[in-house]
């Protein structure tokens, strides 16, 4: 088994299902989708008005959606998060609504949308003493941030790292994903043979990681361990994945190697599973490449919460840890007709698994791939 140094001792998140990990898990297991209609901005010119929106989330002038998501989560958590935790923020667009407001109304300061300012606010909100680090690697931002955090702990540089991730559904990203024709007109159907694209979603969350020694010393509950990771690039295309899955397969192989586990140890895969034709096909090819013809149960949560961009990896790590606690594979929400290529990998119903090691994968714009082994 892997020689683990970094453990997860606390986590929380808000997703389109609402506040909390258990709520999200309960809905995923039930196969519910939180994808609904957008009322935040005018969508009549777009192919779809669907997204995974956090219920009741709104913000006024001078506020941002992501801070509105993060603030309630930090309430009463200062005691839980040590002051000497190194903070890492993962996001793709952060407080982009400041830039939107400036261009649409001419009011406000667009420079406030720089995620560097968001990092400063998060440092204040959480009460940590380090200025921290912003990590942005498209839709692999969270996995990259968690890997980096684990590396900081493994190296002994810090013994407590706080990774925070957030992204909101904005007119900015919605119009952009529409422009590149990546959106399904209905809710995303990852790994379905009739899938047509992704559905955007929004989420925010955090995980607090510690060295095993510190977690033990402080009698922290261990929710799971970061056993290893692999980060690669396809070096192929800006918006399309490497069709043979070579880049993602390389990331998974690196992650397995760094965790000192083999394919036989993996009980379940948390897939990126966006619902786009090319991503899902690429992922299944990568899984087949790595696991040879040995089926490993896989699932995607994006039919439930949508693609939460920079936050996706963190939400998926938290759900992967929950799936390890429950030893249950959640169903792939919205899966009706399994793509023949994904047959035997993904399921419509929850199922039990026996091997207590999981791998969570993400891929993003620019051909960036990431895989994290959790146990």
């Amino acid at each position: 088994m892997p020689s683990v140094k970094s453990v997860v001792v606390a986590c929380d998140m808000v997703t389109p299902y609402g506040q909390g990990v258990n709520l999200c898990w309960k809905h995923l297991i039930a196969g519910d989708s939180a994808i609904g209609e957008i009322t935040r901005f005018d969508t009549r010119h777009f192919k779809t008005n669907k997204a995974g929106i956090i219920p009741g989330l709104s913000c006024g002038a001078g506020e941002s959606f992501v801070m509105k998501m993060l603030a309630p989560m930090s309430k009463g958590k200062r005691a839980l998060i040590p002051e000497d935790s190194f903070p890492i923020l993962a996001t793709t667009t952060g407080e982009i609504n400041y830039l939107e407001g400036h261009i649409i109304t001419g009011k406000g300061e667009y420079k406030q949308s720089d995620p560097g300012f968001l990092l400063e606010k998060i440092v204040k909100l959480t009460g940590v003493k380090y200025p921290g680090l912003l990590v942005s690697a498209a839709c692999t931002s969270s996995n990259t941030a968690v890997s980096h955090g684990a590396a900081l702990i493994d190296s002994g540089r810090y013994d407590s790292v706080l990774v925070i991730a957030c992204d909101s559904v904005s007119e900015f990203v919605f119009s952009g994903f529409s422009a590149i024709m990546a959106l399904d007109e209905n809710a995303a159907r990852p790994f379905d043979k009739n899938r047509k694209g992704l559905t955007l979603g929004e989420a925010a969350g955090y995980i607090l990681m510690m060295s095993q020694e510190r977690a033990l010393r402080e009698k922290r509950p261990v929710l799971g361990k970061i056993a290893g990771w692999g980060l690669t690039s396809d070096a192929n295309h800006m918006t399309g994945p490497d069709k043979d899955g070579g880049g993602l397969a390389a990331a998974i192989n690196k992650a397995l190697q760094s965790a000192s586990v083999t394919i036989d140890d993996i009980g379940v895969i948390s897939a990126h599973g966006t619902g786009t034709i090319y991503n899902d096909a690429m992922e299944i090819k990568a899984f087949k490449k790595v696991f040879n013809k040995q089926f490993v149960p896989a699932y995607s949560i994006k039919g439930g919460v949508g693609h939460t961009m920079g936050a996706a990896g963190l939400v998926e790590i938290i759900i992967a840890l929950k799936s390890l606690q429950e030893m249950t594979v959640p169903p792939t929400v919205n899966l009706l007709d399994v793509d023949p290529q994904a047959e035997g990998w993904v399921f419509q119903e929850p199922a039990k698994f026996k091997k207590a090691v999981t791998i969570s994968t993400n891929s993003g714009f620019g051909g960036i791939n990431s895989a994290i082994v959790l146990c």
Binding site: L99, G116, P131, A137, S175, L231
Partner: protein, 213 residues
């Protein structure tokens, strides 16, 4: 041991290489691709270079200068296990403005995909990965500490952890890009360069950042 084997830089009017100690003026970004081809800095044309945003053009040019400075050859048909880590004060703020302003000016009905793809701070780095075939980790970071030194430290750590065999560390601002190649010393011990453990590195980086403006 990890060594800096190449440093390339570019401003809006001039570009150069530190190890090879060369610098020259150039006319404008539009002509950069052909200008470089003439100088044999890009081994082959950069696909869609004309459509890149300004920062991506400069970052790609700085990477070409860096590989050239380090004597590293690259081929269209061959990929390398080099990773890329980048930083910059403004991230992709200008590209975000360009995309959303264009979208609003066009009646908020349709965005331009080609502008949208540059609205991630990692996009210029991905353009480098695609052109030079760099298959290692790719990430944009921003920290409150000394930027170039932090980048070098993070890049060195990634090599030490075997996450990549070599790393490009790129500091990109609107008016200046500095790119550094880090390789393991056992692979390149005969090459000129600086060991990242050297005491003089801090002074060298400070002088580099001050000297290129």
């Amino acid at each position: 041991m990890i060594k800096i084997t190449g440093i390339g830089w570019i401003t809006e009017k001039r570009y150069g290489r530190i190890i090879q100690q060369s610098a020259r003026d150039y006319s404008d970004l539009k002509s950069l691709a052909s200008d470089f081809v003439g100088q044999a800095l890009f081994a082959y044309p950069v696909k869609n270079f004309g459509r890149f945003d300004k920062i991506s053009k400069m970052v790609c040019a700085a990477a070409a200068l860096t590989f050239n400075d380090a004597g590293v050859r690259y081929f269209k048909s061959e990929k390398k296990e080099t990773g890329i880590i980048g930083t910059g004060t403004a991230g992709c703020l200008q590209s975000n403005l360009a995309y959303f302003k264009d979208y609003v000016d066009n009646g908020r009905s349709l965005g331009r995909g080609n502008l949208f793809i540059y609205t991630l701070p990692s996009t210029p780095l991905a353009e480098v990965a695609i052109h030079f075939g760099c298959r290692g980790p790719l990430l944009y970071i921003k920290s409150g500490q000394s930027r170039m030194l932090s980048l070098i430290e993070y890049a060195g750590d990634m090599i030490s952890r075997n996450e990549a065999s070599s790393m490009l560390a790129i500091s990109a601002d609107e008016h200046r890009v500095i790119c550094i190649l880090l390789e393991t010393d056992d692979q390149v011990h005969q090459k000129k360069g600086f060991r990242i453990e050297e005491q003089s590195l801090t002074a060298m980086i400070a002088s580099l950042e001050k000297g290129i403006s």
